[in-house]
Symmetry: C2
Subunit: 202 residues, 2 copies
DNA sequence: CCCGGGCTGTACCGATCGGTACAAGTCTGC
DNA sequence: GCAGACTTGTACCGATCGGTACAGCCCGGG
């Protein structure tokens, strides 16, 4: 029962849906099925540690499924689009990092959240330049993509129409430079290795 | 002292910066300088009524400075850009409506927030079609603009770099159809009538 | 002068907050 | 089967939450 990874995933869902500051310990026990005793056994430092663990989880997932492919892989951009669309359930799910970044947080946490955005932006910038974008265009498109994702999620959530997110994502990705055709576009072998890992929930 | 309008403006700033659910009555008394007695005299229904009053204020300001010009005025889009940039202090300020929309809120409030986004979207759609955009392009650009504003604000806040917002706004506006030159672009008479009213704070 | 009604500060309310203490489980290695 | 460590539920803590009650304050009309 005390599968810490499973608990962290549940916590992630809770904080994503209800926010961190606005989630009480009663919410946490309800969401995880664990009493306070178990909770403080797993996370001796309480709520802040719960959030830190969730962010560790998110960090690791994005690093593996999004940032690293962007930096290293010729298909990184396609993998990012698929992974991000799956992660945010095509707009049905908010961005935990963006959500928490709007709450009142201490400086250390604020820097951590800012660093997450920056890693994404820089990795995407690298991928765009690798596709032939100029430095200016790459910087612009990378920033625009992050804003489109966050804005698409806010709008999708606020209006109750998840499809807004998919449109926002496709709109900006449609402006990326086409893959240089010299890479001759051999259709990827049917190996399953590139399907994104399941996003960390449910 | 009990200038209700001034109190509402202070409340707006507070909720914008700290969120609604995460602002305690102690925060409210500190921000307004008013004791609980005065607060509950002005707002007998407590915090929910304070938020409603702030939203009334925001609604009225956007209706007057943004939505109405978009619907009626040939310069509506330019006025929107100026007003929005001023309102959000070029990225230094969050969007109260977007902020609250991410918090756990009851259905009535959620619908009100959704309606605000929708009024903006529809008014902008009208203005874009009046400039010659096709129905599809206008719908797309209107939605993209709202997402760019929200995303730009989230990103600006999270990274601590307000300039991100201005870039996001200019990027999308740069894609609008140019004003049809047949309107012969008589430079507006130097009347001061079109300068946006001061955003409702400080 | 004082009187009466809008303001305003403050003491207080029950509920809930995050967190702690600890006793009773449950499981593992011998 | 027993010992000892790991887990877990629960009672409880002081602080703070949103909200209420109310006693004074201020100020204009008689």
């Amino acid at each position: 029962m005390a599968d810490r990874a499973a608990v962290v995933r549940r916590l992630g869902e809770l904080f994503r849906e209800r926010g961190y500051a606005t989630s009480s310990l009663a919410d946490v026990t309800a969401a995880t099925g664990l009493g306070r005793g178990s909770l403080y056994h797993l996370f001796p430092d309480g709520k802040p540690q719960m959030l830190a663990a969730v962010l560790d989880d998110v960090d690791a997932w994005f690093e593996r499924e999004v940032f690293a492919p962007l930096r290293d892989d010729g298909d990184g951009i396609e993998r990012m689009v698929d992974a991000v669309d799956a992660y945010f359930r095509s707009g049905g799910r908010l961005c935990l990092v963006g959500r928490v970044a709007l709450e009142p947080v201490d400086d250390v946490l604020a820097r951590r959240l800012a660093a997450w955005f920056d890693r994404w932006r820089v990795a995407l910038d690298v991928a765009l330049r690798a596709r032939g974008a100029t430095a200016d265009d790459a910087a612009d498109l990378a920033e625009e993509t992050l804003a489109a994702v966050q804005g698409g999620l806010v709008l999708a959530h606020a209006t109750g129409d998840p499809a807004v997110f998919g449109r926002a994502l496709r709109r900006v990705v449609g402006r990326y430079p086409r893959r240089p055709s010299r890479s001759s576009r051999i259709p990827a072998p049917p190996a399953a290795a590139t399907s994104p890992a399941a996003p960390p929930t449910t």
